[in-house]
């Protein structure tokens, strides 16, 4: 039943993608198709990466309210952008070729995230509330550091940073997209391979260790995979804080299972589906492409509040 729903999601995404590519297409077909395909690829990559990474993160943290963004990942991205612009200047930053910049950003974010979440999960994994609070405080520290540097900046440099602070699906480099797709596919394949072990991991550290699982090793691998997925996604379009929470919650609700072999693809497909459907709706039907990131964050934020209130009622 749950597997069939994943298949339906896949089919839905294929149909929607086809519609996204050919809806009201006019000549020159090749050029427009190429542009639309790059945008579609970015939407699918970001949605899939965010959904799958959030499921991984929630499992290893043992908490379904967490997203990488909530515990400081987005703040790390903004700080990195700020430091790069402050160091090189707005013009210097703009002159860095896109491919090396993307790779530097993805590698720095991946390393930083592994360090950040590895530290959080290693020290505070037993105490989820302390872990969340530590993450939020770290996020505040990173944001505060970024703001301090931003205050010292030239206004034109600040405008460059400000542009990078919000997700934008408008202009995506095909080379970056290729690298992102390869990293994402590899991370997804490895995550699916680990799916049965992740099911055991969800029982908690002590129980899973009692069942003979190498819990700490699995957590580190899952964190590396998550960091790789979120890093390429963030480096590609910018930070998307709440999309993961929205997709992971919907995936659990829709499939009604704990099995990661179903949850991971479901969350990945839902993430892609939400972004493609949203972009299609706003760009093609309402003529307002810039609203997508804002609306997705708004819906994700509402989901977060709903989950928190639902827990309190229990």
């Amino acid at each position: 039943m749950a597997e069939r729903r994943v298949l339906w999601l896949g089919l839905g995404l294929m149909l929607l993608s086809a519609g996204f590519l050919v809806w009201q297409i006019r000549a020159p077909y090749g050029f427009i198709l190429e542009l639309r395909a790059a945008k579609l690829g970015a939407l699918i990559c970001v949605g899939a990466a965010t959904g799958a990474a959030t499921v991984l993160f929630q499992t290893v943290a043992g908490n379904r309210l967490l997203t990488p963004g909530l515990v400081g990942f987005d703040a790390l991205f903004v700080l990195l952008q700020t430091v790069l612009v402050a160091g090189l200047g707005g013009v210097g930053f703009a002159q860095i070729p896109t491919a090396p910049r993307f790779l530097i950003e993805a590698a720095t974010l991946g390393g930083g995230a592994t360090l950040l979440f590895g530290l959080l999960l290693r020290r505070d994994a037993q105490d989820v509330m302390r872990m969340i609070l530590t993450g939020i405080i770290l996020g505040v520290l990173l944001r505060g550091s970024a703001e301090m540097v931003q205050r010292l900046m030239d206004p034109s440099d600040f405008a460059v940073v400000q542009q990078a602070m919000f997700a934008s699906f408008g202009a995506v480099d095909a080379g970056q997209l290729g690298v992102s797709a390869v990293v994402l596919l590899a991370a997804l394949a490895l995550s699916l391979r680990l799916a049965p072990a992740l099911d055991v991991c969800a029982l908690g550290r002590d129980t899973s260790r009692g069942l003979g699982l190498h819990h700490d090793r699995l957590v580190m691998i899952a964190l590396l995979l998550m960091a790789a997925m979120v890093s390429v996604s963030t480096a590609l379009v910018g930070p998307v804080t709440f999309l993961g929470l929205l997709t992971a919650s919907l995936a659990r609700h829709l499939t009604g299972t704990h099995r990661h072999a179903v949850l991971i693809p479901a969350a990945a497909l839902l993430g892609a589906l939400i972004l493609v459907a949203g972009q299609f709706l706003f760009e093609r039907l309402l003529g307002s492409a810039s609203a997508l990131a804002v609306i997705v964050e708004f819906c994700g934020g509402l989901t977060f509040l709903f989950l928190v209130l639902k827990r309190r009622r229990r």
Binding site: G204, G210, L213
Partner: protein, 251 residues
Amino acid sequence: MIEINGLSYRIDGTKILHDVTMRLESGGITALIGPNGAGKSTLLHCISGLETPERGTVRIDGLDPFAAPARDRARAVALLRQSPALVSRLSVRELVGFGRWPHHQGRPGAADRDAVDRALGAFALADLAGRSIATLSGGQRQRAFIAMTWAQETPWMLLDEPLNALDPRHARDLMARLHALSRDAARSIVIVLHDINAAAGWADRIVAMKAGRIVAQDACAALLTEDTLREVFDTPFELLEHRGRKVVVAR
């Protein structure tokens, strides 16, 4: 047999276990009793290999749980913690199925499905197999977690206060079931109990602990004396006989 030699354990500078040395014979039920903070749960975790002691050795039928590969350890000893995490979307069958992980590592076969069926039957959970564990009562849920530990099919089963939050009827049913199963399936069960009467009624042997040390260890009938209980719990007890069984009453 479980052999423990000179086991010491410390948390944040506080010594929880002091040079514990003892032998637990195979078969039947061994109850660990003692006041809060005696180190009973810590001892159980050290035996299972999940906590590494400061000093000392443990051998489970010759296996060193701290040095053995995790899978071998999980095939030798199964531990049920006091408050295991609840994954609400799990059905009872799926939860019990996790007990087979040390055997199949993610690829369950017919033998694993049979073992799950046996565990469900042993703890009267067959009718609830498809139910979500979130919808079960406290007693049913506890039975489901114990069935998971049972499905691990280890020679040794360690249960940390499984009677917590159970009413007298469910506590009695569970102890009776464990007592019968330990005999029928030739499994050795070590169980932490706060209810001394549950230990008196169902355990074959009792180990009494206090302040991280073993105070007494003997067959149930021999250990349960007013003097020993007063020494262990620092409070007077009265021992009564009811239908051939000892009944302990705190005075």
